[in-house]
């Protein structure tokens, strides 16, 4: 009797918790698969959502390496390129390879690269490591331009992305590409969030926070760093596939320059290091911010605000913002978001 009473007394609490826990994912799911495909304009999907999704995924990947494991990298764009060109070539050269397999193989290629260029991390730290990851950046761009084979000997070096289809269903439309992108991003994000909350994720954090202590208690430091490089590069590689196949619709080395590496680094700094949500907040900011700035500039300055001025003002404002974030809010938008939520919570209760 007593046990039963206790059980029923506890049940409503559990339900409330469950609802609370499932509310946000359910809402996101409904928006991602219901609202957006049904109502979003072509412009919203092509110009905002597709780059947002690809960059978010790249930022999730870099956050795993830099935010969680503490290994600074400026090679993200190179790993995106390896993913994109990998997918292009697997698709081109293997007849009838399913899209999912193509993407996984592309990710694995990027992971292989990541491990090779992660080897210096066993010796180098911080700034020096970042400089050594630049080598990846320059090497990959050089190799892709130098060897025409990667672009199927296309004279311009720019190749169109292949047709996208899953199980015979074409995904070439804006909505189709969006569905491919959003599904990939959701799947990988779920896996990453499980990873960072597991013992492996805690090993990453241990290596980041105190490598010596981590080593002495038995964290396999070398293995942990290389695993972080491999997983991070895999994810960034898949993000590169999304960037080229679903957003740009072309594959070219120039799309993956050093600027892109910095952009992804800025996303995780602005969004918040070691936060998955931060990767999405930062990516949303980076994608929406130039559009906002150009509208605002055009509104205030009219015709004077051309693309040159826009580009320059964008760099200045972004640079200033990054400095402000680094000094005032090292935990990024994600921490601001939490504080806002707490304030609203305390006001409503």
């Amino acid at each position: 009797m007593a046990v039963q009473a206790l059980d029923t007394a506890r049940l409503p609490v559990d339900w409330a918790k469950l609802v609370q826990k499932l509310a946000l994912p359910t809402a996101l799911f409904v928006v991602a698969y219901g609202v957006v495909p049904a109502y979003a304009s072509g412009y919203l999907v092509e110009a905002i959502l597709l780059p947002f999704l690809a960059l978010s995924l790249a930022a999730v990947g870099l956050n795993l390496l830099t935010g969680y494991c503490g290994q600074l990298s400026l090679g993200s764009s190179a790993f995106m390129a390896v993913g994109a060109f990998g997918a292009y070539n697997f698709n081109l050269r293997v007849e009838g390879l399913p899209l999912a397999v193509t993407m996984i193989l592309a990710g694995i290629s990027a992971a292989g690269f990541g491990v090779v260029f992660g080897l210096p991390s066993l010796r180098l730290r911080g700034f020096y490591l970042a400089v050594s990851t630049l080598a990846a950046q320059f090497f990959v761009q050089w190799a892709l331009t130098k060897f025409g084979w990667f672009s199927n000997d296309n004279p311009s070096g720019v190749v169109s992305a292949p047709h996208l289809a899953v199980a015979g269903l074409s995904l070439d439309s804006a909505t189709g590409r969006y569905l491919l992108s959003v599904t990939t991003v959701i799947l990988i994000t779920v896996l990453v969030s499980r990873l960072v909350n597991s013992a492996t994720g805690r090993n990453f954090i241990a290596v980041r926070d105190n490598e010596t202590a981590a080593r002495v208690i038995g964290v396999p430091v070398l293995k942990t760093k290389l695993l972080a490089f491999a997983l991070s590069s895999f994810i960034i590689g898949v993000a590169g596939v999304l960037w080229a196949f679903t957003y740009l619709r072309t594959v070219e080395p120039a799309g993956f320059n050093l600027d892109r590496s910095f952009q992804i680094l800025f996303i995780i700094i602005i969004g918040g290091l070691a936060s998955i949500r931060g990767a999405f907040l930062g990516a949303a900011f980076i994608v929406v911010f130039p559009l906002f700035l150009s509208r605002l500039g055009a509104f205030v300055f009219g015709g004077l605000f051309d693309s040159g001025v826009l580009d320059m003002s964008q760099r200045i404002v972004l640079g200033a913002l990054i400095i402000i974030f680094l000094i005032a809010e090292p935990n990024g938008l994600s921490a601001l978001f939490d504080r806002l939520k707490r304030r609203i919570g305390s006001r409503s209760s």
Binding site: R194, S198, D209, N210, A214, V216
Partner: protein, 300 residues
Amino acid sequence: MIGASLGAAAYERAPEISRILAGVGPVEDTRRARLSAKADAILTLNGIGISFGGVTALSDVDLEVKSGEIRAVIGPNGAGKSSLINIISGLYHADHGTITIDGQPFARVPANHLARLGVARTFQNLALFGGLSVRDNIASGRVHTRHASFVEHIAGLPRARREDAMIAEKTDQIVAFLHLESVADRLVATLPYGLQKRVELARALVAEPKLLLLDEPMAGMTATEKAEMAGFVRAARDRHGVTIILIEHDIGVVMGLSDRVAVLDYGRKIADGTPAQVRADPAVIQAYLGTAEGEDSEGI
């Protein structure tokens, strides 16, 4: 301060040792005692020397640590105490000498296998994982017992879950043992210094080591915190049977807590024996008085 509280218990706990050191007792007895002491030694250092550039941090240091004892290492700042612990834990590599851990001799101790050799340590300066909770910091002390891969972790496969459950149980025990329940779920970086020191002890203890190296576990603590910490160190030895090497500046604490004391000065071992013997040693008095005038150090 020389007359600070003395662990008289030390004499009762290890009569053979004190007799050997005092050079008394029948020859036959001494020999047998020495043999058994050898067999019982969980750690032996032979002729350890290390220098950094021109600075000789340690030269020709011998040290023997018997299973189950609390072995203090004292000495003025810069005497080489931390270097000694770093050599035992493999973070420094000695230029000369051998380190024998539980019968296994090493010229260089492999730091990444330290936990599996049954050795755990704390650091003079806090070395916690600031981004993890107290509980996760402590649990990380058993990371060497994990075998599941990251795939098993992501998928939540049975082996990963079993390891998590086993480690959670050990962690809970240590959390209770060191009275950390009320802060267990807080981020460790938000804790006051004294509690962080305790979490570091917990992270070392959860590994259930045979040998525990404590580098100034009470440094910077209030008198109350020190007494509490001393209680935990003693309890760790008494209840879990762990052998402890303790570096500590507070002579009162050292004399009360340890079975044997080694004294380092300028990288040399100048005395070794029971607290009473060491306290009465002219070389020790000389070393301490010499530095006490210069830098007004705590302790004797």
